[in-house]
Amino acid sequence: MSSFRILSTGSYAPNNIVTNSQLSEMLDTTDQWIQQRVGICQRHISVSETTSDMAAKAAENALQNSGVRPEDLDMIICATITAEYRSPNLACMVQKKLGASCPAMDVNCACSSFIYALDTAAGFFARGTVRHILVIGAERLSSIVDWKDRSTAVIFGDGAGAVLLGTGDNYLASVLNAAGNDEIIKIPDQPENSFISMKGQETFQFAVKSICADLQTVIRKAGLQPEDIDYIIPHQANSRIIEFAQKRLNIPAEKFCMNIKNYGNTSSASIPMLLDELNRSGKLEQGDKIALCAFGGGLSSGACIITW
């Protein structure tokens, strides 16, 4: 069945960088603790840019050299949990900023949103009703972080990544999972509390198990072997999660891509931001098999394999 291929990528992170040392001035934490526990050195934090500002910049960045204009888009799908409004959704705000006129919708599966959004896009391509879809992961997580809570404040960052999809056969296989649970990861939406809370050990366990199971499933579904995969782009939640999953899967560490050191955990934005970084560095070659995987609140998880 026909699916899509990635025509171009883009990303954007706010200029304002907050280092671990800056955080340790306002919280009871240290640079060493943060680096050891989560593998983060700095994060980009928006001062005044909204989620749609960042999303639109990543989108423009992706469209720039593609030859595809905003008016050529058949759909915009945004993966986010931090849109600036409940309504309009983020995708409509991006549509407005780009000057596009296509349908626009959001997907909310917390940190797994980008995988869910790609799979949603694949469905429209399979039906043959679209030629270009822009899928964007964008988050302003600094708006849902309690800056007095040292266990979460050090983890998250802001940013956006975008992929422009066109018709093709490069989406090889996917898997999506959900297991409803509001104990382990939660962002309430109440006037008195809208901050993210997480149980660290349970999240770690869920994440490692999800990465291992989802990657194994999706590699098998694609009719491939682990050694056929050139790069794995996992959601950048915590370097320790990625390293432990890598050990359990016994796949060489150099195939697991990471940039959490510079951006922190940007939820739905982490995978497209990292994909853009790899693309722009010239690392990806045509025909490379790339596995993406994500996990997070919901609880939700998912993975897919794309041919570059």
Binding site: R37, K199, G200, Q201, E202, F204, Q205, K209, F244
Partner: protein, 77 residues
């Protein structure tokens, strides 16, 4: 039995001298943090073929051994 298995895992994780790992040993003194503990629990789950989920905080080797043994007894029932 669980103590010996856990001690082997700790040695594998930290290169600690097996003699220095006792039930009263604090994880923090071995340089083991809460995520290392989860890693070891997950490795034990695989070895023992059981799910060992619990959210109690443990600070010593003996406390973790007791929790795992308690969980194993519950699973047997």
């Amino acid at each position: 039995m669980i103590f010996e298995k856990l001690r082997d895992l700790i040695v594998e994780h930290t290169d600690a001298d097996p003699e220095s790992v006792r039930p009263s040993t604090q994880f923090i003194d071995l340089g083991i943090d809460s995520l290392d503990t989860v890693e070891m629990i997950m490795q034990l789950e695989e070895e023992l073929g059981v799910e060992l989920e619990f959210d109690e905080k443990v600070t010593t080797v003996g406390e973790l051994v007791n929790l795992i043994e308690k969980r194993l007894r519950e699973l047997k029932k």
